[in-house]
């Protein structure tokens, strides 16, 4: 299994631990990553660029899709936001007339998006291409006794008609499937598909922090020792700004936030340091040592 790796902007910037963990995990899972094809691919626009000009966003993503098609490899994403933005762009460009007009802008680079590229998140690739049973077989250090709270990130669960949920209904609870597959228990809490507040961080910090504290505290209430998310933007807010949120709500939180590959990596027996678990703002010691105690 080989994929054109599309790491997105944040995993190469403020969340490098995600990039490292992804490489490590993919090695162990037999997922071969081509890191060349997407070198020249732009940011997806993250929904922010689409605010200014939706068509430009679609053009940039069509360009990325075309590059993927040329390589003959399926595209892999590791960020809920990248996934969602790409899926939405793809949905809009199923209209052949629109796609052709977008392609006319790409013609100068000799690129043409043919409507075939299907970018998918590592989360979905594990369930759909590896299969949950085969995945379970690779687990060497099940996270028995650990309660982990899933936090999806808006863009990988909505809007459901752009994300292929009808054809692939398992995507709806994919994160919970992974948590259970690595031997842990799901700490179900109401905000698991809600918003982390990252998009309004610079606009309304008060509301953003309230979202962080609401979700982390309600996850803790369900007994979670950690939260896992497939979106580095959510991670930036839930982890990076957790101290700020804690201060605003006037309560300690101290809930470690794991990137998806980090959770998987721990269960695959990769050592925490290689997964850069020491590079979080909220200390992950608790989870790591809890793991050390489980047989």
């Amino acid at each position: 299994m080989k994929y054109a790796f599309y790491p997105g902007c944040v995993s190469r910037g403020a969340a490098p631990e995600l990039y490292t963990a992804t490489i490590e995990v993919c090695k162990r899972l037999g997922i071969e990553l081509d890191t060349q094809t997407m070198e020249g691919a732009s940011c997806t626009g993250s929904g922010v660029l689409q605010e200014k000009n939706e068509r430009l966003g679609d053009t940039l993503n069509a360009r990325t899709f075309a590059m993927g098609e040329n390589s003959g490899l399926p595209i892999m994403t590791i960020c809920s936001t990248c996934q969602g933005v790409m899926s939405q762009a793809k949905a809009r460009m199923t209209d052949v007339e629109y796609r052709e007009s977008v392609n006319s802008d790409l013609s100068e680079e000799n690129l043409e998006y043919k409507g075939q590229a299907e970018p998918r998140h590592l989360l979905w690739i594990i369930i759909e291409d590896i299969g949950i049973e085969k995945f379970k077989e690779k687990i060497v250090k099940p996270l028995t006794g650990l309660k982990i709270a899933p936090f999806y990130g808006c863009y990988i669960v909505r809007p459901s008609d752009a994300l292929g949920f009808d054809e692939n209904p398992e995507r709806k609870h994919s994160l919970e499937m992974i948590i259970e597959a690595v031997g842990a228990e799901v700490a179900d809490f109401p905000g698991k598909s809600a918003c982390c507040g990252f998009p309004i961080l610079t606009i309304n910090e008060k509301n953003s922090m309230k979202m962080v504290s609401n979700h982390t505290l309600s996850a803790k209430k369900e007994g979670a020792v950690a939260m896992v998310t497939p979106c580095p933007l959510c991670h930036l807010n839930l982890d990076g700004y957790q101290p700020t949120a804690s201060k605003q709500v006037g309560q300690p939180i101290d809930l470690p936030i794991l990137h998806l590959p980090q959770l998987i990596g721990l269960a695959l027996g990769i050592d925490p340091k290689s997964l850069k678990l020491n590079q979080h703002i909220v200390n992950t010691e608790k989870v790591v040592s809890a793991l050390a105690l489980t047989p």
Partner: protein, 317 residues
Amino acid sequence: MDVDLNIARFNPDAEGKSPYRQEFNIEVNETDTVLDGLIKIREEVDGTLALRCSCRSAICGSCAMRVNGQAVLACNTKITDLVSNKNKSINVEPIGNMKIIKDLIVEFDTHWEKIKAIDPWIKTDSSPPEAEYIASNESMVELAGVMGCIQCGACVSDCTVLAVDETFLGPAALAKAYRFIADPRDEANSQRLKDLNEPSGIWDCTRCMQCVEVCPKGVDPMGRIMKLRDFAMEAGFKNTNGARHAEVFSEIIRNNGVLNEFWLPVKTFGMFNIPEMLKLAPIGLKMVMRGKMPPIFYEKIPGYKNITKLFEKTKVL
């Protein structure tokens, strides 16, 4: 087939006044909706069950409620879509972000206040023509899309910003505002955009798409809010963090192809915005110490010039 409707109830007249749950097991047909089930309960089993409903065909907007945690119209939610051989229980609650009056009936007062707050009527300075205003069919079809809103409150119910901040205008009011700005006959765009640009307006939406997901009429409130942001920026209202954020984001991608999270917040607030820079500093410091600091010097991707060209072609910035 039979089904269990587990309903969140509240009797405001009762002593002690606490919400409680009640489960009803009823026989339903294959094609029955949740509303059919609820009506059956109130007509045959328990006449005290209170809910709003009217048209039964997803037009009047009365029967919005949360079914299995998500806001829907009860009258077009089929029971067979929600139950299976393993699970025949359906959870029914009043919609969120509104105060409960009784059982499934909530206070819509705040909702209407917000609708009124955006001046929901056509404003013109000039007198209307003798006959109809001339307008393109495209503009009318666009309007008909957003005017498909039946004010059911589903988007308001599940809005993640309203869940933490009740001052936010909300998806329904903002979509209604879009209806006027997109109407070629309304002449108050500038003033409308100015008002919407204020705190608790268009920039407070967190782009979570809940409103898009739950809207039973395909109104796409978030999409309309995004368009309003675009209009606001084009009309020259660029002096908000939100507008600056979008502008800076655009500029960074245009010049480098990928994002740089160091410069994004710095430029959004403004380098000389000392209070905000001071707030950012400790976080930035922590990130440096953890090796998470993005490079201060931009990293341009190979072929970044092609990106710049695409921006120019689409005439952005």
